[in-house]
Symmetry: C2
Subunit: 400 residues, 2 copies
């Protein structure tokens, strides 16, 4: 009975292909390289238990009560402290905003900024959940392909110029400069500076998703765009899902106060505020150094798993394939010979016991039919080796 | 720099007057009858501590990990069990949906159903936060005044007929049948049946907000509309904020599966899922009977406080005033002589040491200038007595 009552906007909502996939693998013996779950052995369980008990023992009146929309002030101050580890300085608690995961941050940012018909720039491929939010806003997309070092900035500038000459001035670019999901690429410092110059020259905003900024395990992570931004043109978001625990659903935004105030008004409507208890847990986790102490372990676990996956790919994938060699994050992205359609191959792959995400899900125009995203953070090393072997053989059979 | 980039929709966002008010009282010695906070002495702190510790000891892998968008299945089954206490039967876990407070439930329901220009029916007065979400959807409002027994159903039917004859068929009515916020009214069983008949006759949906359904302290709470609904026309929402702890930010929806599936697609975009840890805490609180055992205490505390407030109003308010005598909930609503403008009186009242919410905030058309909402759940009994005394004297002075 509800269909005839639904808003006209609803038709734009599409189920996330990843989550539909996860449902298919539920309860079956399938090695899933499709998900994006952190390895639960990286959760600092004992520390979280101790912190939670202390919070409920000493501060229950606050932890169980309503709190302010933008986040607990004391927590926002700790976010300022944590941000220093990413080289972000010159901000205070009024530049930070707490959200229910970085998903809510992206939902709010795109809903606050994008009207139907607005021109937005995305990487090809890019984060599926961000694409789904954007699609619901019915924008005009400009897609910029990834090279092995992040978005192709020549292509970006060419397409921006072209769009402007067609009367479509881009409003923003959504970009994941570090350990890109799904691409696995990381922009160099020089490219970051050039991207900021392009954004300034053509006057668009940069929405920087730094979900994996703390999860770089080869060398130093380059500084985020916001730390290089002198104009306040960057809106930055990150998450506790990869550095503490995703079940807490905590993300945050750093931006100019002017934008933070708009977020506050909007979040009053969405959910009033982020849960107080989970904020206080994460706040103490920063204060007590739990996150900072845990990072070396998380990085080691993921580096080892990445190495297992890359070695297996090297061994079992056809030599015509190329793939990213991520310095951080949780994913490898593979470009297979054009003959392979990864959407069509999925059923057979799952029949043989391996799930992955077809790469076209990560393209705003559903191109990239020969690509796939492979997760290395959640499966065991044995599953990674076994899964890639099965997958490699499946690809070889499809190439025949 | 952000203003010129903002979506055109943003201009519809208005700060919640209540929250602006709360800011004014921050750090000052003002008795606040303005808020809507539960009394923290009603939080079952020790039980929550024990539960949380058990959850993190025994099920941390699940509690700290991502979970499904509609809510943890086991928790949804407990919501089905809890709903039996409200007389709701014939549902299963697929009819339930977990949200970040009932605020998110209302945000999702109204965004899924209301397009600009759609006709929606609201009570006068009604819950401010719901009004703010609706306003952002730019609907055509029909307002129905409250009597001492809930919405005036004669007025409702007359206005609905009139609207239909003007080509504006109502799509839905938002209604709080039990311990209405702010009105303090509770609909009789007969009125509930009649409302369902009217909704059926004129074919609109009923969005039932049962935030205070578990918080009726005089006699039995009448059954919610959804328990009387044979057509699946009612979408029901309630919250843990009043029966466990608001800092957990947990609410839920009960509706036909068809609508629950639409919610699932939408919530994937908004925040992926409600925090897993807080869901597991509330799940155990139902399983272990914590909520059921705590309700008699909460009801007793609030009944006593209501009695203190009503006695003080009787004593100090002018005899031309009328006010609700709520059988539950957390608020009394007062209708003062027409001469009083409660918006204009607020500054003086706060100068004298008492805050309240001007009633016009709760009217879609900002009428009800002579009304005010008074909270009795959070202040101490002494503050209630003292606050109402100051407020009564202020009113008397303004009547001179």
């Amino acid at each position: 009975m509800f269909e005839r009552f639904l808003s006209k906007d609803v038709s734009n909502l599409r189920s996330s292909e990843i989550r539909d996939l996860l449902k298919l693998t539920e309860g079956k013996k399938v090695i899933s390289l499709a998900g994006g779950l952190p390895d639960p052995t990286t959760f600092p369980v004992e520390e979280i238990r101790k912190i939670t008990d202390d919070v409920l023992r000493e501060k229950s009146d606050r932890a169980l009560q309503y709190s302010t929309t933008s986040g607990i002030t004391e927590f926002k101050k700790e976010l300022v402290n944590l941000s220093r580890y990413r080289g972000i300085s010159g901000i205070n608690e009024n530049n930070t905003f707490v959200t229910v995961g970085s998903q809510e941050a992206l939902f709010m940012i795109f809903n606050l900024l994008v009207d139907p018909g607005d021109t937005v720039i995305v990487e090809m491929p890019t984060y599926l959940a961000a694409l789904n939010i954007l699609r619901a806003r019915k924008p005009n997309f400009i897609g910029v392909h990834l090279t092995q070092n992040g978005p192709d900035l020549d292509e970006l500038e060419r397409k921006v110029k072209e769009s402007i000459s067609n009367g479509k001035k881009p409003k923003l670019m959504y970009v994941i400069p570090t350990a890109q999901n799904p691409g696995g690429t990381t922009m160099s410092l020089d490219d970051r500076k050039r991207l900021l110059e392009i954004a300034q020259k053509y006057d668009f905003l940069l929405i920087e998703d730094d979900a994996y900024g703390f999860l770089v395990f080869d060398g130093e992570a380059p500084p985020p765009l916001i730390s290089l931004d002198k104009e306040g043109r960057v809106i930055y978001t990150s998450t506790f899902s990869k550095i503490l625990a995703p079940g807490l659903r905590l993300g945050w935004v750093i931006a100019q106060e002017e934008f933070i105030r708009e977020m506050e008004l909007y979040k009053q409507n969405i959910d009033l505020h982020t849960p107080t208890l989970t904020q206080m847990i994460a706040m103490e986790a920063i204060k007590r150094g739990v996150i900072q102490n845990q990072l070396p372990l998380i990085r080691r676990v993921y580096r080892e798993k990445r190495d297992v996956m890359l070695a297996a790919i090297e061994k079992y994938f056809p030599k015509e394939a190329t793939w990213s060699r991520p310095v951080g994050g949780m994913f490898v992205f593979a470009w297979l010979p054009e003959k392979i359609d990864t959407v069509k191959m999925l059923e057979e792959s799952m029949r043989r016991g391996v799930a992955y995400v077809p790469g076209s899900s990560f393209y705003h125009d559903y191109s990239g039919r020969n690509t796939m995203r492979l997760n290395f953070s959640y499966p065991t090393k044995q599953e990674l080796e076994e899964g890639i072997k099965i997958l490699g053989n499946t690809i070889l059979d499809f190439l025949k």
